[in-house]
């Protein structure tokens, strides 16, 4: 008997002409790990809310959802609350209380459990997730990753059989996202809790999921084992939005026509590539050392011809010189003599771990914080704008069009032009808060550009965007660079930087450590690099993007 079964479920929001969900059939077994993927706005979140009593929105609904043998709507309220857990997107807004220990206990308090029982469960949770050191902290003082882990733990404390996650990592940086997904995997493998998760970081979840379900326009397209779905997506003639979010190894080998038994991880991808290189070098097992050194030499020679383009740089538009910064007199230095130079029309990505000082550096360059030593200089004819991490903080109006009109100071034509530049025409009458992550970023960007900004500073713009939305944003940014706008991006997103940036630098220990063109930067790194480079680095060290690895492989095959 399935843990949860959805039978012929259709749903439409009141007043909406189209169905948000159309004839959904889905079964989730006990202890199963199911990933639901699809482009934003395809009805993933709507489906998740239909499965969680208490969150079911108003609207016309057909079909039925069973939990075990009972209809979900007839499930006692307390059973529903405790046995089906729900973790939302935004780590902040789910938090109800002021202390971590209290937040963990919140659901248990609602169940009316006596204090000794709660004490025991909370202790178990904190120990399981290693939260002891911040157990007595205030919730407001936690990092995003800690907050989301706490939300997960507080749902788990109620002892659920099914945990539902609605894009739990979309507000987190990649490192925090990875550790959260590892925690999800642990509760699934070690505690046998069934997981239903929507996620666009497919390279993380594909290797661990039991089943992948793809959705589009309110319908379920396919459902099956990750390897099979990867093959189906790769084989389908029109590459859907989901395809670009697939793990690098899947994309590389599906493009090479090897869609049987696709490798899902970097490790398997490397192995497969090694086999392929050996085969091409004549017979398996022979001369494998030579094969790699041959390939390496061949490619790097070729690359060295390409690099000179880098030296032709425009004039400097923004400069930070030996910046030193600390938050309070007694705290440690966040920046220790960081220097940075941004040229006209350049797309510059700053990478680095948490707490390395990336955001601080941005804030100083944007003039929001003052360094205690060193200075910043902005070209006199340039206007600098910073896109904040929370782009919603820029929004003041109730439709997209009015939002742009507000920035263009009533110039309707300028607003219209910006709307088409940012590809937002279809959403003109939408409320800014109802936009998806990518649309929100583009609207915010449009607002800043209407202020004639020609030096753009962006703080983590790819947070929560799927691969397609990232590409769309990058295309717009690239076009702007072509028009002489300089773009400085702080990101954790290695793939984004590798694919689109002109110039990259690693911020570490309050300084810019390794700096160079995107290719030199990533090809020179051993660990801090793209998956494609991790897979192919041994054979094609200068290839940092999937497409390049594919090209190199094709050349080798010929």
């Amino acid at each position: 008997m399935a843990l949860l079964s959805i039978e012929n479920l259709s749903f439409a929001y009141p007043g909406a002409p189209e169905r948000a969900l159309d004839d959904i059939n889905l079964e989730i077994e006990k202890g199963e790990y199911v990933v639901l993927c699809g482009p934003s706005g395809c009805g993933k979140t709507t489906l998740l809310c239909q499965v969680k009593p208490g969150l079911v929105p108003a609207g016309a609904r057909e079909g039925s959802v069973y939990y075990g043998n009972t209809l979900l709507s007839e499930l006692p309220e307390l059973t529903a609350a405790s046995e089906i857990g729900f973790v939302q997107q935004n780590p902040d807004n789910q938090i109800v209380t002021d202390f971590v220990w209290h937040e963990l206990a919140f659901g248990l308090e609602n169940m009316g459990l006596p204090v000794p029982v709660i004490r025991r469960r909370v202790a178990e949770m904190a120990a399981f997730f290693g939260m002891e050191s911040w157990f007595r902290n205030k919730t407001a003082e936690l990092s995003g990753g800690q907050k989301q882990l706490m939300n997960l733990a507080s749902a788990l404390a109620m002892n659920p059989k099914l945990l539902i996650f609605d894009e739990p990592t979309s507000m987190l940086d990649p490192l925090a996202a990875r550790s959260l997904l590892q925690a999800v995997q642990r509760i699934n493998r070690e505690l046998g809790v069934a997981v239903l998760l929507t996620e666009h970081r497919l390279d993380e979840v594909f290797p661990v999921a039991d089943r992948v379900v793809t959705m589009d326009k309110g319908r379920i397209l396919t459902s099956g084992a990750p390897a099979r779905i990867a093959k189906e997506l790769a084989d389908s003639p029109d590459k859907s939005r989901i395809y670009f979010g697939l793990p690098a190894s899947v994309r590389i080998f599906s493009e090479l026509g090897q869609t049987d038994d696709l490798p899902l991880t970097v490790r398997d991808g490397r192995k497969r590539l090694e086999e392929m290189v050996q085969k091409c070098e004549g017979g398996p097992g022979t001369r494998n050392g030579d094969a790699s050194s041959f390939a390496m030499g061949a490619v790097s020679e070729e690359e060295s011809e390409k690099s000179p383009g880098d030296t032709q740089k425009g004039r400097t538009v923004l400069e930070g010189k030996e910046l030193w910064f600390r938050y309070t007199e007694s705290s440690k230095d966040v920046l220790r003599g960081a220097s940075i130079r941004l040229y006209e029309g350049e797309f510059f990505c700053l990478l680095g771990g948490n707490g390395a000082g990336k955001t601080t550096l941005l804030r100083i360059l944007a003039g929001l914080s003052k360094p205690y030593r060193g200075r910043t200089r902005l070209s006199r004819d340039k206007i600098l704008c910073m896109l904040p991490q929370n782009a919603k903080a820029l929004f003041v109006a109730d439709t997209v069009f009015k939002e742009l009109l507000d920035s263009s100071e009533g110039d309707a034509q300028a607003a219209m032009d910006m709307m088409s530049l940012m590809e937002l025409e279809k959403l003109a009458e939408r409320h800014p808060y109802d936009l998806s992550g990518g649309e929100t970023q583009r609207l915010a960007l449009g607002k800043l550009l209407l202020k004639n900004a020609d030096v753009l500073i962006l703080d983590e713009p790819t947070k929560g965007l799927d691969a397609y939305a990232k590409a769309q944003l990058a295309k717009i940014l690239k076009d702007l660079c072509g028009k002489g706008v300089s773009v400085l991006v702080v990101t954790h997103d290695v793939e984004f930087a590798a694919n689109y940036a002109d110039h990259c630098a690693l911020v570490f220990d309050g300084q810019l450590m390794s700096e160079g063109s995107a290719r030199d930067f990533f090809a020179g790194n051993r660990f801090y690099t793209t998956d494609a480079n991790r897979i192919a680095g041994e054979f094609f060290p200068m290839d940092i993007r999937c497409e390049e690895v594919i090209d190199s492989c094709r050349k080798l095959q010929q």
Partner: protein, 294 residues
Amino acid sequence: MRMRFFGNLHPAVSMTYFLLVLVLTLICMNPVTVVLSFLGASWFSIRLKGAGAYVGSMRFVAPMFILISLANPLFNHRGVTPLFEINHLWYTLEATVYGLVSACSLCAVIIWFTCYQEVMTSDKFLYLFGKPFPGTSLLITMTLRFIPQLQQNRKEIRESQSMLKEEGTRLFQKMGTALRNLSVLLTMSMENAVETADSMKARGYGARRRTTFHLFRFDGRDARTLGAVLSVGGVCILARCFGHGTMEFYPRMTPVLLGPATYTMFVFYAALMFMPGILETVEELRWRSLVSKI
């Protein structure tokens, strides 16, 4: 973190102590007890927050002490022992002493309150008084969670909006910007609150009468401390009921000391007032000796 004895006690014990101390300070009006109370409070305050913070609070307390002790004889001319005359009004010894005593007692109460604030954090208060009102106590908890979030959003909005519009220098422009930012903050907060409500519902809020969870345990140390507080405090209260430890100021000051019983009471009174200071110091000394043995 500093070693803390009093801060880690069960809230009921700390609360009992503070109540006793406050009541005794207020009902025992004589030069000896108010000074004892003042010294005890000061010692505790220094142990809790450090000498720097104590000196800082003195910047407010000392002027108040001077003001009250001077104001009383200035406006109150009862008493029979004239000291000197200003503007045909007599300054009396009784009024001056009463002013000093009441100023000292008030300052002691204020310092006790700063200690109270340091020790009785919101979670302790909610634990003590939240049980009969689970709804209200949750509301307070949520508010305490909401305030830092609101402050953070406000800062974020202000910085973001400054990218779009110059803040302006005139009062009129500044007010316009502030209003605009406020409306963004309200929209954002309401949007966030909807999600918080969903999260509460998802975790079964309102399905049943809630219990209120806490991390406090009443252990042997709490019992011993409570016993000591109650017995020492009880002696003082009892003695006060028999008329010890208080005096008449007007028209003529009556003697404070009424024999050995009063001395005994003062000893107990001092023990009560200095209890936190002593306990904290002993704790720290014990810790140091432990460290030195490692």
